[in-house]
């Protein structure tokens, strides 16, 4: 049984396609079996909503009178430094940037209440944001100072560009030391006091397309409440991560770089967040539709939480010291049960990725496609896969003497 994307898109335009969310798919498979469902279902929507630090927004503010050259100068949005290494009025705000006077963790453990992610959320919400800039002045761009409110409605472009999102699986963090530690995977209580995981598990896009057969450069997606596209593979993309027999990676693996127009996004799906003792970031909502082109693709889509395994890693010593030790491998059904066993001890678990919001996004994307105007795209380039030998490497330090 083979369907083409063109056939499926024709059905979508006619309102005849069968589109379900991943959760609905699991119910259908239980009732009807894989073979029948592969023929009947055309598109399955997958999704995730979690903290994604390598996210940014670039903006063209429009020129002032007289003109100013922000490029090579200094600028802040609501006190958060933005990157000005571009042309005159192009700036880029990163999710983890923080005001210069933020004490960070000088006052332990550090609250990190406001950062680039919060600014991106406020921009998406249509709020006025304060731009303050200092320039060195040139003959063609003589102005040296600018203090103005800007709003996403008025700027030329405001583009969300997240160069590492939608991680295909991730670590489960625990703390083997006897002191509380603060990490990007949460506040970890001493002596295996608690564990944090961060993945949408069975709903997660790349875990539903483990070999990147349908998701690639150019795939049209739900991003932050609006339309987006996969632009490239994300940083630290690691298709060569060890995989189980079902092809699912057992370590953090593939990643996506995604892009979309921030002007049509919604702060409900782009949330500035603070990780105590660690830093500020942005929670991003992503939804990716997967076309059921073959029974093989449906078999990958049938994956359940109990079949996806994640590594339990000690974040007090092993992780910071770059040691690849893994304490246990646990599956997402165990993680979601609220408790896992690590070194014989019962450890309570919590998530950082919102499964509930991921389910919502999958539903919204399903409804968009049902309406008939969201058709699926065929990738223009494939993501590097395991066969390519592409893998993530640590930094080979060569000290400068």
């Amino acid at each position: 049984m083979v369907k083409t994307l063109q056939e499926i898109n024709e059905k979508i335009k006619k309102g005849q396609a069968v589109i379900v969310t991943k959760e609905e798919l699991l119910d259908l498979i239980e009732k009807k079996g894989i073979e029948r469902v592969a023929k009947e279902v055309d598109v399955v929507t997958t999704a995730t909503f979690g903290p994604m630090c390598s996210s940014s927004a670039y903006i063209n503010t429009g020129h002032t009178r007289p003109k100013i050259k922000l490029g090579g100068g200094k600028a802040t949005l609501n006190g958060v430094p933005v990157y000005t290494g571009f042309a005159a009025v192009d700036i880029c705000i990163g999710a983890t940037a923080m005001p210069e006077d933020d004490p960070r963790n000088k006052i332990h453990p550090g609250e990190f209440n406001y950062g680039g992610g919060h600014v991106i959320e406020e921009l998406a919400a249509g709020k006025d944001v304060a731009l303050e800039a200092y320039a060195y002045g040139t003959d063609c761009y003589p102005r040296r100072e600018l203090k103005t409110w800007i709003n996403i409605k008025d700027v030329n472009e405001a583009v969300l560009f997240n160069f590492r999102n939608a991680y295909q699986n991730y670590n489960v963090a625990v703390n083997l030391s006897n002191k509380t530690i603060y990490t990007y995977l949460g506040m970890l209580k001493p002596n295996l006091g608690n564990a944090y995981y961060c993945s949408a598990g069975q709903l997660s896009p790349l875990l539903n397309d483990p070999f990147y057969q349908t998701i690639g450069v150019g795939t049209k997606i739900f991003l932050g409440g609006g339309i987006g596209y996969v632009a490239w593979h994300g940083t630290q993309h690691n298709p060569s991560a060890p995989r189980g027999e079902n092809g699912l990676p057992k370590r953090p693996s593939g990643t996506l770089a995604v892009i979309g127009d921030l002007k049509q996004m919604n702060p409900k799906w782009l949330k500035g967040v603070s990780f105590t003792g660690y830093g500020a970031s942005l929670m991003v909502g992503i939804g990716i539709p997967i076309p059921v082109l073959s029974e093989e693709i449906l078999k990958h889509l049938a994956v359940k939480d109990s079949e996806i395994f994640a590594p339990v890693v000690d974040y007090s010593e092993a992780y910071p010291q770059g040691k690849s030790d893994v304490l246990e491998e646990v599956n997402y059904a165990q993680l979601k049960s609220g408790q896992i066993k690590v070194k014989g001890k019962d450890v309570p678990t919590s998530a950082l990725s919102s499964y509930k919001k991921a389910v919502e996004i999958a539903g919204i994307l399903r409804d968009w496609i049902k309406k008939g105007d969201f058709t699926l795209t065929e990738p223009v380039a494939k993501l590097p896969d395991a066969e390519s030998g592409y893998k993530v490497k640590p930094l080979n330090e060569r000290p400068i003497k």
């Binding site: 609250e111 967040v273 929670m283 979601k336 950082l352 919001k357």
Partner: protein, 137 residues
């Protein structure tokens, strides 16, 4: 009928060195568990207590506190979850020592807050990434 009640007491500046809470045991037969005690910058004392005893004794004890100029407020009003800000991630769940923050439904993973269980220890406030948990005293 024996019952437990959690209350937040605010002691005005003039009362902070007067033994008051001890009378709850001596005169009103109440057991109390101090969940939190601090002095705020305005030099008022703040105490979070769990009182256990006969319902009528608890009422009499609270009346005594009010007569002594202590402001009494039920605890459940003090930790508030801003559900608009909440991202339903569940980061708070494993941190809450009493299970007041919990996963309502393991299938949907919806997060719930049971104000009656909350002891206002505030451990959940900082681990909440969108800072959706607010403490109001």
């Amino acid at each position: 009928m024996t019952t437990s009640k959690r209350i937040v007491l605010t002691f005005p500046k003039k009362n902070i060195d007067k033994p008051i809470v001890y009378h709850l045991i001596k005169d009103y037969n109440l057991i109390f568990n101090i969940l939190k005690a601090s002095i705020n910058p305005a030099e008022e004392g703040i105490m979070v207590l769990e009182l256990t005893g006969e319902e009528s004794d608890i009422k009499k004890g609270l009346d005594y506190l009010k007569k002594e100029g202590v402001n009494v407020q039920p605890l459940s009003k003090d930790i508030v979850v801003n559900w608009d800000k909440c991202t339903q991630c569940g980061a708070c769940v494993a941190v809450c020592p009493v299970g007041a923050l919990y996963v309502k439904d393991k299938k949907t993973m919806e997060i719930g807050f049971d104000a009656d269980k909350c002891i206002a220890c505030e451990l959940c406030v900082l681990p909440c990434p969108p800072r959706a948990i607010e403490v109001k005293f």
